[in-house]
Symmetry: C2
Subunit: 280 residues, 2 copies
Protein backbone atom coordinates (compact mmCIF):
# COMPACT_ATOMS: atom_id res chain seq x y z
CA UNK A 1 0.00 0.00 0.00
CA UNK A 2 1.34 3.43 -0.90
CA UNK A 3 1.99 6.04 1.79
CA UNK A 4 -0.94 8.33 2.58
CA UNK A 5 -1.25 11.85 1.22
CA UNK A 6 0.59 14.10 3.74
CA UNK A 7 -2.02 16.77 3.14
CA UNK A 8 -4.56 14.53 4.89
CA UNK A 9 -2.74 14.58 8.22
CA UNK A 10 -4.56 16.33 11.03
CA UNK A 11 -3.53 16.67 14.65
CA UNK A 12 -5.94 16.55 17.51
CA UNK A 13 -4.69 19.13 19.99
CA UNK A 14 -5.02 16.65 22.86
CA UNK A 15 -1.84 15.10 21.47
CA UNK A 16 0.15 18.09 22.77
CA UNK A 17 -2.27 19.46 25.34
CA UNK A 18 0.09 19.23 28.30
CA UNK A 19 2.68 21.36 26.47
CA UNK A 20 0.69 23.82 24.38
CA UNK A 21 -2.45 25.90 24.53
CA UNK A 22 -4.62 26.16 21.44
CA UNK A 23 -2.89 29.23 19.96
CA UNK A 24 0.47 27.46 20.15
CA UNK A 25 -0.99 24.27 18.68
CA UNK A 26 -2.48 26.19 15.75
CA UNK A 27 0.83 27.93 15.06
CA UNK A 28 2.68 24.64 15.54
CA UNK A 29 0.58 22.75 13.02
CA UNK A 30 1.02 25.58 10.51
CA UNK A 31 4.78 25.67 11.10
CA UNK A 32 5.05 21.93 10.47
CA UNK A 33 2.90 22.06 7.35
CA UNK A 34 0.13 20.03 8.95
CA UNK A 35 -3.11 21.04 7.23
CA UNK A 36 -5.74 19.77 9.67
CA UNK A 37 -6.39 20.42 13.34
CA UNK A 38 -8.95 19.24 15.85
CA UNK A 39 -9.38 21.42 18.93
CA UNK A 40 -11.19 20.73 22.18
CA UNK A 41 -13.94 22.95 23.50
CA UNK A 42 -12.20 23.76 26.80
CA UNK A 43 -9.26 25.13 24.83
CA UNK A 44 -11.59 27.11 22.60
CA UNK A 45 -13.20 28.73 25.60
CA UNK A 46 -9.79 29.63 26.96
CA UNK A 47 -8.55 31.20 23.72
CA UNK A 48 -11.91 32.63 22.72
CA UNK A 49 -13.88 31.23 19.84
CA UNK A 50 -13.40 34.25 17.58
CA UNK A 51 -9.67 34.44 18.14
CA UNK A 52 -9.38 30.70 17.49
CA UNK A 53 -11.44 30.85 14.31
CA UNK A 54 -9.40 33.81 13.14
CA UNK A 55 -6.06 32.07 13.80
CA UNK A 56 -7.19 28.83 12.15
CA UNK A 57 -8.43 30.69 9.07
CA UNK A 58 -5.31 32.84 9.04
CA UNK A 59 -3.12 29.76 8.79
CA UNK A 60 -5.47 28.18 6.24
CA UNK A 61 -6.01 25.12 8.46
CA UNK A 62 -9.08 22.92 8.27
CA UNK A 63 -10.82 21.77 11.46
CA UNK A 64 -11.19 18.03 10.87
CA UNK A 65 -13.54 17.82 13.83
CA UNK A 66 -14.48 19.60 17.03
CA UNK A 67 -14.05 17.66 20.28
CA UNK A 68 -16.63 17.17 21.54
CA UNK A 69 -20.33 16.95 22.01
CA UNK A 70 -22.39 14.11 23.44
CA UNK A 71 -22.41 13.02 27.11
CA UNK A 72 -26.18 12.69 26.98
CA UNK A 73 -27.20 10.28 29.76
CA UNK A 74 -28.12 11.90 33.04
CA UNK A 75 -29.87 10.87 36.21
CA UNK A 76 -32.82 13.20 35.70
CA UNK A 77 -34.69 15.23 33.08
CA UNK A 78 -32.93 18.47 34.07
CA UNK A 79 -29.57 16.83 33.44
CA UNK A 80 -30.66 15.50 30.07
CA UNK A 81 -31.99 18.93 29.10
CA UNK A 82 -28.73 20.60 30.14
CA UNK A 83 -26.78 18.11 28.02
CA UNK A 84 -28.86 18.94 24.97
CA UNK A 85 -28.37 22.68 25.52
CA UNK A 86 -24.64 22.11 25.84
CA UNK A 87 -24.64 20.23 22.54
CA UNK A 88 -26.50 23.02 20.76
CA UNK A 89 -23.74 25.37 21.88
CA UNK A 90 -21.10 22.93 20.63
CA UNK A 91 -22.80 22.85 17.23
CA UNK A 92 -22.61 26.64 17.08
CA UNK A 93 -18.91 26.54 17.89
CA UNK A 94 -18.27 23.88 15.25
CA UNK A 95 -20.13 26.05 12.76
CA UNK A 96 -18.02 29.09 13.67
CA UNK A 97 -14.87 27.07 13.03
CA UNK A 98 -16.13 25.55 9.78
CA UNK A 99 -15.47 22.15 11.36
CA UNK A 100 -15.93 19.08 9.19
CA UNK A 101 -17.90 17.51 12.01
CA UNK A 102 -18.74 17.65 15.69
CA UNK A 103 -17.46 14.49 17.37
CA UNK A 104 -19.99 12.97 19.76
CA UNK A 105 -18.81 10.91 22.71
CA UNK A 106 -22.04 9.39 23.92
CA UNK A 107 -21.58 9.39 27.68
CA UNK A 108 -21.70 6.49 30.12
CA UNK A 109 -24.01 5.40 32.89
CA UNK A 110 -25.69 8.08 34.99
CA UNK A 111 -24.52 8.12 38.62
CA UNK A 112 -25.72 5.08 40.59
CA UNK A 113 -27.22 3.51 37.46
CA UNK A 114 -26.60 -0.02 36.18
CA UNK A 115 -29.02 0.38 33.27
CA UNK A 116 -26.82 0.50 30.20
CA UNK A 117 -29.75 -0.17 27.86
CA UNK A 118 -31.49 2.86 29.35
CA UNK A 119 -28.38 5.00 28.89
CA UNK A 120 -28.22 3.96 25.26
CA UNK A 121 -31.83 4.99 24.81
CA UNK A 122 -31.02 8.41 26.29
CA UNK A 123 -28.18 8.79 23.79
CA UNK A 124 -30.57 8.06 20.95
CA UNK A 125 -33.01 10.66 22.25
CA UNK A 126 -30.25 13.22 22.70
CA UNK A 127 -28.92 12.83 19.18
CA UNK A 128 -32.41 12.99 17.73
CA UNK A 129 -32.98 16.21 19.66
CA UNK A 130 -29.90 18.00 18.33
CA UNK A 131 -29.79 16.69 14.76
CA UNK A 132 -32.16 19.32 13.30
CA UNK A 133 -30.01 22.17 14.67
CA UNK A 134 -26.85 20.47 13.41
CA UNK A 135 -28.34 20.15 9.94
CA UNK A 136 -29.41 23.78 9.93
CA UNK A 137 -25.90 24.79 10.95
CA UNK A 138 -24.29 22.55 8.36
CA UNK A 139 -22.37 20.66 11.06
CA UNK A 140 -22.36 16.87 10.58
CA UNK A 141 -22.55 14.88 13.80
CA UNK A 142 -19.98 12.08 14.08
CA UNK A 143 -20.81 9.44 16.68
CA UNK A 144 -17.52 8.00 17.91
CA UNK A 145 -17.86 4.51 19.33
CA UNK A 146 -15.48 4.23 22.28
CA UNK A 147 -13.59 1.16 23.37
CA UNK A 148 -15.71 -1.13 25.58
CA UNK A 149 -13.39 -0.39 28.53
CA UNK A 150 -15.05 3.06 28.62
CA UNK A 151 -18.63 1.74 28.56
CA UNK A 152 -19.36 2.61 32.18
CA UNK A 153 -17.95 6.08 32.48
CA UNK A 154 -17.42 7.64 29.04
CA UNK A 155 -19.50 6.10 26.30
CA UNK A 156 -22.13 3.40 26.17
CA UNK A 157 -21.73 3.28 22.39
CA UNK A 158 -18.93 0.77 21.99
CA UNK A 159 -18.83 -0.75 18.53
CA UNK A 160 -19.10 0.59 15.02
CA UNK A 161 -22.10 -1.65 14.38
CA UNK A 162 -23.87 -0.11 17.34
CA UNK A 163 -23.02 3.44 16.24
CA UNK A 164 -24.34 2.70 12.75
CA UNK A 165 -27.50 1.13 14.17
CA UNK A 166 -27.96 4.36 16.08
CA UNK A 167 -27.49 6.42 12.91
CA UNK A 168 -30.07 4.27 11.17
CA UNK A 169 -32.51 4.64 14.07
CA UNK A 170 -32.25 8.45 14.17
CA UNK A 171 -31.81 9.02 10.44
CA UNK A 172 -33.49 6.04 8.74
CA UNK A 173 -33.53 7.60 5.28
CA UNK A 174 -29.89 8.68 5.39
CA UNK A 175 -30.72 12.33 4.88
CA UNK A 176 -27.20 13.41 5.77
CA UNK A 177 -25.56 15.19 8.62
CA UNK A 178 -25.16 12.09 10.79
CA UNK A 179 -22.43 9.48 10.75
CA UNK A 180 -19.49 8.06 12.66
CA UNK A 181 -15.93 8.80 13.66
CA UNK A 182 -13.74 5.71 13.33
CA UNK A 183 -10.88 5.85 15.83
CA UNK A 184 -8.59 2.86 15.41
CA UNK A 185 -7.82 2.82 19.14
CA UNK A 186 -11.43 2.04 19.96
CA UNK A 187 -12.31 -0.39 17.19
CA UNK A 188 -9.13 -2.15 16.00
CA UNK A 189 -10.00 -5.37 17.90
CA UNK A 190 -13.51 -5.69 16.43
CA UNK A 191 -13.96 -8.81 14.28
CA UNK A 192 -16.75 -6.96 12.45
CA UNK A 193 -14.63 -3.90 11.68
CA UNK A 194 -14.10 -4.39 7.95
CA UNK A 195 -17.74 -5.25 7.36
CA UNK A 196 -19.01 -2.31 9.38
CA UNK A 197 -16.71 0.18 7.66
CA UNK A 198 -18.06 -1.11 4.36
CA UNK A 199 -21.59 -0.74 5.69
CA UNK A 200 -20.90 2.84 6.80
CA UNK A 201 -19.77 3.92 3.36
CA UNK A 202 -18.77 7.44 2.47
CA UNK A 203 -22.10 8.87 3.60
CA UNK A 204 -21.56 7.83 7.23
CA UNK A 205 -17.76 7.94 7.49
CA UNK A 206 -17.14 11.44 8.80
CA UNK A 207 -13.79 11.12 10.56
CA UNK A 208 -10.83 8.75 10.84
CA UNK A 209 -8.61 8.92 13.94
CA UNK A 210 -5.25 7.24 14.26
CA UNK A 211 -2.79 6.27 17.00
CA UNK A 212 -1.68 2.84 18.24
CA UNK A 213 -2.45 0.25 20.92
CA UNK A 214 0.53 -0.39 23.17
CA UNK A 215 1.43 -3.74 24.72
CA UNK A 216 1.37 -3.52 27.64
CA UNK A 217 -1.13 -0.70 28.10
CA UNK A 218 -0.32 0.82 31.49
CA UNK A 219 -3.34 3.06 31.92
CA UNK A 220 -6.89 2.80 30.64
CA UNK A 221 -7.08 6.42 29.55
CA UNK A 222 -3.71 8.05 28.93
CA UNK A 223 -1.40 5.42 27.49
CA UNK A 224 -2.09 5.54 23.77
CA UNK A 225 0.78 4.89 21.42
CA UNK A 226 2.24 6.76 18.45
CA UNK A 227 1.54 5.09 15.11
CA UNK A 228 4.03 2.26 14.63
CA UNK A 229 4.68 1.65 18.33
CA UNK A 230 1.82 -0.78 18.86
CA UNK A 231 -0.10 -3.65 17.34
CA UNK A 232 -2.70 -1.97 15.12
CA UNK A 233 -2.48 -2.76 11.41
CA UNK A 234 -3.04 0.85 10.34
CA UNK A 235 -2.53 0.46 6.57
CA UNK A 236 -5.12 -2.31 6.52
CA UNK A 237 -7.71 -0.23 8.33
CA UNK A 238 -6.93 2.79 6.15
CA UNK A 239 -7.45 0.59 3.08
CA UNK A 240 -10.89 -0.31 4.38
CA UNK A 241 -11.97 3.29 4.99
CA UNK A 242 -10.62 4.34 1.60
CA UNK A 243 -12.37 1.47 -0.16
CA UNK A 244 -15.56 2.62 1.53
CA UNK A 245 -15.09 6.01 -0.11
CA UNK A 246 -13.62 8.05 2.73
CA UNK A 247 -11.37 10.85 1.49
CA UNK A 248 -11.07 12.99 4.62
CA UNK A 249 -8.36 13.67 7.18
CA UNK A 250 -6.31 11.17 9.20
CA UNK A 251 -6.43 12.73 12.63
CA UNK A 252 -3.78 11.83 15.19
CA UNK A 253 -5.19 11.70 18.70
CA UNK A 254 -2.79 10.48 21.38
CA UNK A 255 -3.32 10.74 25.14
CA UNK A 256 0.05 9.82 26.61
CA UNK A 257 0.90 10.83 30.13
CA UNK A 258 4.14 8.88 30.32
CA UNK A 259 5.58 9.49 26.88
CA UNK A 260 4.34 12.02 24.32
CA UNK A 261 3.02 14.56 26.80
CA UNK A 262 6.53 14.65 28.29
CA UNK A 263 8.26 15.55 25.03
CA UNK A 264 9.02 18.69 23.11
CA UNK A 265 5.79 19.34 21.19
CA UNK A 266 7.69 20.18 18.01
CA UNK A 267 9.25 16.71 18.20
CA UNK A 268 5.76 15.25 18.70
CA UNK A 269 4.40 16.94 15.56
CA UNK A 270 7.47 16.00 13.53
CA UNK A 271 7.04 12.38 14.68
CA UNK A 272 3.35 12.44 13.74
CA UNK A 273 4.31 13.49 10.22
CA UNK A 274 7.01 10.81 9.86
CA UNK A 275 4.94 8.02 11.35
CA UNK A 276 1.94 8.96 9.24
CA UNK A 277 4.04 8.42 6.13
CA UNK A 278 5.80 5.31 7.41
CA UNK A 279 3.20 3.35 9.36
CA UNK A 280 -0.25 4.42 8.19
Amino acid sequence: MSAPDPALLSVNTATVRKQWGLAQAIAGCARHGIRGISPWRDQLREMGIEAAAHAIRGHDLTVSGLCRGGLFPAADAAGRYAAIEENLGAINEAHALGARCLVLVAGGLPKESKDIAGAREQVREGIAAILPHARNAGVPLAIEPLHPMYAADRSCINTLAQALDLCDAVDPHNQGGLGVAVDVYHVWWDPQLAAQIRRAGSARLLAFHICDWLVPTRDLLNDRGMMGDGVIDLPRIRSWVEQAGYTGFHEVEIFSELDWWQRDPDEVLQTCKERHQKFC
Copy 2:
Protein backbone atom coordinates in the same frame (compact mmCIF):
# COMPACT_ATOMS: atom_id res chain seq x y z
CA MET B 1 -35.96 -11.70 40.72
CA SER B 2 -35.42 -14.20 43.53
CA ALA B 3 -31.98 -14.80 45.03
CA PRO B 4 -29.91 -17.51 43.35
CA ASP B 5 -29.57 -21.02 44.77
CA PRO B 6 -26.58 -20.86 47.18
CA ALA B 7 -25.62 -24.37 46.09
CA LEU B 8 -24.70 -22.93 42.67
CA LEU B 9 -21.94 -20.72 44.07
CA SER B 10 -18.45 -21.65 42.98
CA VAL B 11 -15.19 -19.86 43.73
CA ASN B 12 -12.37 -19.53 41.28
CA THR B 13 -9.22 -19.92 43.32
CA ALA B 14 -7.69 -16.84 41.68
CA THR B 15 -10.01 -14.86 43.95
CA VAL B 16 -7.82 -15.78 46.95
CA ARG B 17 -4.63 -16.76 45.17
CA LYS B 18 -2.40 -14.25 46.93
CA GLN B 19 -3.44 -15.60 50.32
CA TRP B 20 -4.00 -19.33 49.82
CA GLY B 21 -2.54 -22.24 47.93
CA LEU B 22 -4.90 -24.76 46.39
CA ALA B 23 -5.11 -27.08 49.41
CA GLN B 24 -6.14 -24.15 51.60
CA ALA B 25 -8.65 -22.93 49.01
CA ILE B 26 -10.25 -26.38 48.79
CA ALA B 27 -10.54 -26.61 52.57
CA GLY B 28 -11.76 -23.02 52.72
CA CYS B 29 -14.56 -23.57 50.24
CA ALA B 30 -15.63 -26.71 52.10
CA ARG B 31 -15.55 -24.89 55.44
CA HIS B 32 -17.77 -22.11 54.07
CA GLY B 33 -20.22 -24.54 52.49
CA ILE B 34 -19.31 -23.43 48.98
CA ARG B 35 -19.99 -26.39 46.68
CA GLY B 36 -18.03 -25.44 43.57
CA ILE B 37 -14.38 -24.62 42.95
CA SER B 38 -12.33 -23.68 39.92
CA PRO B 39 -8.58 -24.22 40.25
CA TRP B 40 -5.72 -23.01 38.05
CA ARG B 41 -3.23 -25.36 36.48
CA ASP B 42 -0.17 -23.78 38.09
CA GLN B 43 -1.71 -24.43 41.50
CA LEU B 44 -2.56 -27.99 40.49
CA ARG B 45 1.04 -28.65 39.54
CA GLU B 46 2.18 -27.27 42.85
CA MET B 47 -0.19 -29.40 44.92
CA GLY B 48 -0.01 -32.41 42.64
CA ILE B 49 -2.94 -33.43 40.51
CA GLU B 50 -3.72 -36.60 42.47
CA ALA B 51 -3.62 -34.89 45.83
CA ALA B 52 -5.84 -32.12 44.48
CA ALA B 53 -8.35 -34.54 42.97
CA HIS B 54 -8.40 -36.50 46.23
CA ALA B 55 -8.98 -33.40 48.36
CA ILE B 56 -11.69 -32.08 46.06
CA ARG B 57 -13.50 -35.42 46.06
CA GLY B 58 -12.98 -35.79 49.80
CA HIS B 59 -14.83 -32.53 50.41
CA ASP B 60 -17.46 -33.43 47.83
CA LEU B 61 -16.75 -30.28 45.80
CA THR B 62 -17.47 -29.96 42.10
CA VAL B 63 -14.91 -28.42 39.75
CA SER B 64 -16.99 -25.90 37.83
CA GLY B 65 -14.13 -25.43 35.37
CA LEU B 66 -10.40 -25.84 35.06
CA CYS B 67 -8.38 -22.68 34.29
CA ARG B 68 -7.10 -22.86 31.68
CA GLY B 69 -6.34 -24.07 28.22
CA GLY B 70 -6.03 -22.09 25.01
CA LEU B 71 -3.23 -19.63 24.21
CA PHE B 72 -3.00 -21.06 20.70
CA PRO B 73 -1.43 -18.35 18.49
CA ALA B 74 2.31 -18.57 18.09
CA ALA B 75 4.93 -17.11 15.80
CA ASP B 76 5.86 -20.46 14.26
CA ALA B 77 4.64 -24.01 13.73
CA ALA B 78 6.68 -25.35 16.62
CA GLY B 79 4.99 -22.88 18.96
CA ARG B 80 1.55 -23.81 17.69
CA TYR B 81 2.33 -27.52 18.11
CA ALA B 82 3.57 -26.95 21.66
CA ALA B 83 0.34 -25.09 22.48
CA ILE B 84 -1.74 -28.01 21.26
CA GLU B 85 0.31 -30.49 23.30
CA GLU B 86 -0.14 -28.28 26.34
CA ASN B 87 -3.89 -28.28 25.79
CA LEU B 88 -4.07 -32.06 25.53
CA GLY B 89 -2.37 -32.18 28.94
CA ALA B 90 -4.89 -29.69 30.31
CA ILE B 91 -7.74 -31.87 29.05
CA ASN B 92 -6.27 -34.84 30.91
CA GLU B 93 -6.05 -32.81 34.11
CA ALA B 94 -9.63 -31.60 33.71
CA HIS B 95 -10.69 -35.24 33.23
CA ALA B 96 -8.82 -36.29 36.39
CA LEU B 97 -10.69 -33.62 38.36
CA GLY B 98 -14.07 -34.42 36.84
CA ALA B 99 -14.21 -30.76 35.78
CA ARG B 100 -17.42 -29.52 34.21
CA CYS B 101 -15.32 -27.88 31.49
CA LEU B 102 -11.87 -26.73 30.50
CA VAL B 103 -11.91 -22.95 30.10
CA LEU B 104 -10.11 -21.79 26.95
CA VAL B 105 -8.51 -18.35 26.85
CA ALA B 106 -7.69 -18.02 23.18
CA GLY B 107 -4.39 -16.16 23.29
CA GLY B 108 -3.45 -12.87 21.69
CA LEU B 109 -1.16 -11.78 18.90
CA PRO B 110 2.11 -13.65 18.42
CA LYS B 111 5.21 -11.59 19.17
CA GLU B 112 5.80 -8.83 16.57
CA SER B 113 2.52 -9.64 14.80
CA LYS B 114 -0.23 -7.18 13.90
CA ASP B 115 -2.34 -9.82 12.18
CA ILE B 116 -5.32 -10.31 14.45
CA ALA B 117 -7.32 -12.10 11.75
CA GLY B 118 -4.45 -14.56 11.40
CA ALA B 119 -4.33 -15.11 15.17
CA ARG B 120 -8.04 -15.82 15.15
CA GLU B 121 -7.54 -18.40 12.43
CA GLN B 122 -4.85 -20.05 14.55
CA VAL B 123 -7.28 -20.24 17.45
CA ARG B 124 -9.82 -21.98 15.24
CA GLU B 125 -7.22 -24.50 14.10
CA GLY B 126 -6.06 -25.12 17.66
CA ILE B 127 -9.54 -25.79 18.98
CA ALA B 128 -10.32 -28.06 16.06
CA ALA B 129 -7.12 -29.99 16.82
CA ILE B 130 -7.94 -30.66 20.47
CA LEU B 131 -11.70 -31.15 20.30
CA PRO B 132 -11.55 -34.90 19.47
CA HIS B 133 -9.40 -35.60 22.53
CA ALA B 134 -11.65 -33.45 24.71
CA ARG B 135 -14.69 -35.40 23.55
CA ASN B 136 -13.00 -38.72 24.20
CA ALA B 137 -12.09 -37.52 27.68
CA GLY B 138 -15.59 -36.21 28.36
CA VAL B 139 -14.25 -32.71 28.98
CA PRO B 140 -16.32 -29.94 27.37
CA LEU B 141 -14.27 -27.02 26.03
CA ALA B 142 -15.57 -23.60 27.07
CA ILE B 143 -14.28 -20.73 24.93
CA GLU B 144 -14.23 -17.64 27.12
CA PRO B 145 -14.44 -14.41 25.15
CA LEU B 146 -12.22 -11.87 26.89
CA HIS B 147 -12.83 -8.14 27.12
CA PRO B 148 -11.56 -6.28 24.03
CA MET B 149 -8.92 -4.57 26.18
CA TYR B 150 -7.13 -7.94 26.22
CA ALA B 151 -7.29 -8.48 22.45
CA ALA B 152 -3.58 -7.88 21.86
CA ASP B 153 -2.00 -9.87 24.65
CA ARG B 154 -4.46 -12.38 26.09
CA SER B 155 -7.32 -13.28 23.81
CA CYS B 156 -8.25 -12.36 20.28
CA ILE B 157 -11.74 -13.77 20.89
CA ASN B 158 -13.54 -10.77 22.31
CA THR B 159 -17.29 -11.06 22.03
CA LEU B 160 -19.82 -13.77 22.69
CA ALA B 161 -20.96 -13.61 19.05
CA GLN B 162 -17.42 -14.25 17.92
CA ALA B 163 -16.98 -17.18 20.34
CA LEU B 164 -20.25 -18.70 19.14
CA ASP B 165 -19.25 -18.21 15.50
CA LEU B 166 -16.09 -20.10 16.35
CA CYS B 167 -18.09 -22.91 17.96
CA ASP B 168 -20.24 -23.11 14.84
CA ALA B 169 -17.17 -23.18 12.59
CA VAL B 170 -15.47 -26.01 14.49
CA ASP B 171 -18.61 -27.93 15.46
CA PRO B 172 -21.18 -27.06 12.78
CA HIS B 173 -23.59 -29.82 13.73
CA ASN B 174 -23.50 -29.06 17.45
CA GLN B 175 -22.27 -32.49 18.36
CA GLY B 176 -21.47 -31.44 21.89
CA GLY B 177 -18.37 -30.86 23.93
CA LEU B 178 -17.82 -27.30 22.72
CA GLY B 179 -19.33 -24.08 24.02
CA VAL B 180 -18.63 -20.85 25.84
CA ALA B 181 -17.88 -19.46 29.27
CA VAL B 182 -19.80 -16.24 29.88
CA ASP B 183 -17.87 -14.01 32.28
CA VAL B 184 -19.82 -10.86 33.03
CA TYR B 185 -16.61 -8.84 33.38
CA HIS B 186 -15.76 -9.42 29.76
CA VAL B 187 -19.18 -9.12 28.14
CA TRP B 188 -21.40 -6.89 30.29
CA TRP B 189 -21.00 -3.91 27.93
CA ASP B 190 -21.99 -5.80 24.76
CA PRO B 191 -25.20 -4.51 23.16
CA GLN B 192 -25.66 -7.98 21.65
CA LEU B 193 -25.31 -9.80 24.95
CA ALA B 194 -28.92 -10.84 25.53
CA ALA B 195 -29.35 -12.00 21.95
CA GLN B 196 -26.11 -13.97 21.94
CA ILE B 197 -26.86 -15.69 25.26
CA ARG B 198 -30.19 -16.73 23.76
CA ARG B 199 -28.38 -17.95 20.67
CA ALA B 200 -25.93 -19.97 22.76
CA GLY B 201 -28.69 -21.84 24.56
CA SER B 202 -28.10 -24.59 27.08
CA ALA B 203 -26.04 -26.64 24.63
CA ARG B 204 -23.31 -24.00 24.36
CA LEU B 205 -23.52 -22.32 27.78
CA LEU B 206 -20.92 -24.21 29.78
CA ALA B 207 -19.92 -21.73 32.47
CA PHE B 208 -21.07 -18.47 34.03
CA HIS B 209 -18.53 -16.28 35.82
CA ILE B 210 -19.40 -13.36 38.06
CA CYS B 211 -17.70 -10.33 39.58
CA ASP B 212 -18.22 -6.61 38.96
CA TRP B 213 -16.84 -3.72 36.88
CA LEU B 214 -15.51 -0.93 39.07
CA VAL B 215 -15.69 2.79 38.26
CA PRO B 216 -12.98 3.87 38.04
CA THR B 217 -11.02 0.79 37.01
CA ARG B 218 -7.44 1.45 38.12
CA ASP B 219 -5.71 -1.43 36.39
CA LEU B 220 -6.50 -3.32 33.21
CA LEU B 221 -5.89 -6.72 34.75
CA ASN B 222 -6.16 -6.83 38.52
CA ASP B 223 -8.90 -4.40 39.53
CA ARG B 224 -12.07 -6.44 39.30
CA GLY B 225 -14.81 -5.74 41.78
CA MET B 226 -16.84 -7.88 44.16
CA MET B 227 -20.44 -8.36 43.09
CA GLY B 228 -22.42 -5.28 44.08
CA ASP B 229 -19.48 -2.88 44.09
CA GLY B 230 -19.67 -1.98 40.39
CA VAL B 231 -22.04 -1.22 37.55
CA ILE B 232 -22.94 -4.64 36.16
CA ASP B 233 -26.62 -5.56 36.32
CA LEU B 234 -25.94 -9.11 37.52
CA PRO B 235 -29.54 -10.25 38.13
CA ARG B 236 -30.45 -9.23 34.59
CA ILE B 237 -27.60 -11.19 33.04
CA ARG B 238 -28.36 -14.18 35.27
CA SER B 239 -31.98 -14.03 34.10
CA TRP B 240 -30.75 -14.24 30.49
CA VAL B 241 -28.53 -17.27 31.08
CA GLU B 242 -31.26 -19.01 33.05
CA GLN B 243 -33.85 -18.27 30.36
CA ALA B 244 -31.43 -19.82 27.88
CA GLY B 245 -31.49 -23.02 29.94
CA TYR B 246 -28.26 -22.71 31.91
CA THR B 247 -28.46 -24.49 35.27
CA GLY B 248 -24.76 -24.65 36.23
CA PHE B 249 -22.55 -22.87 38.71
CA HIS B 250 -22.08 -19.14 39.27
CA GLU B 251 -18.32 -18.92 39.57
CA VAL B 252 -16.78 -15.92 41.31
CA GLU B 253 -13.51 -14.87 39.70
CA ILE B 254 -11.97 -11.67 41.07
CA PHE B 255 -8.43 -10.45 40.39
CA SER B 256 -7.96 -7.62 42.86
CA GLU B 257 -4.49 -6.50 43.78
CA LEU B 258 -5.60 -3.48 45.77
CA ASP B 259 -8.57 -4.86 47.63
CA TRP B 260 -9.61 -8.50 47.86
CA TRP B 261 -6.12 -9.98 47.61
CA GLN B 262 -5.20 -7.86 50.65
CA ARG B 263 -7.95 -9.25 52.85
CA ASP B 264 -8.40 -12.25 55.11
CA PRO B 265 -9.43 -15.01 52.66
CA ASP B 266 -12.14 -16.26 55.01
CA GLU B 267 -13.66 -12.78 54.85
CA VAL B 268 -13.41 -12.92 51.05
CA LEU B 269 -15.30 -16.23 50.85
CA GLN B 270 -17.91 -15.06 53.34
CA THR B 271 -18.40 -11.90 51.28
CA CYS B 272 -18.74 -13.96 48.07
CA LYS B 273 -21.56 -15.92 49.69
CA GLU B 274 -23.36 -12.82 50.95
CA ARG B 275 -22.98 -10.87 47.74
CA HIS B 276 -24.07 -13.83 45.64
CA GLN B 277 -27.34 -13.87 47.57
CA LYS B 278 -27.77 -10.11 47.65
CA PHE B 279 -26.57 -8.82 44.28
CA CYS B 280 -26.72 -11.68 41.77
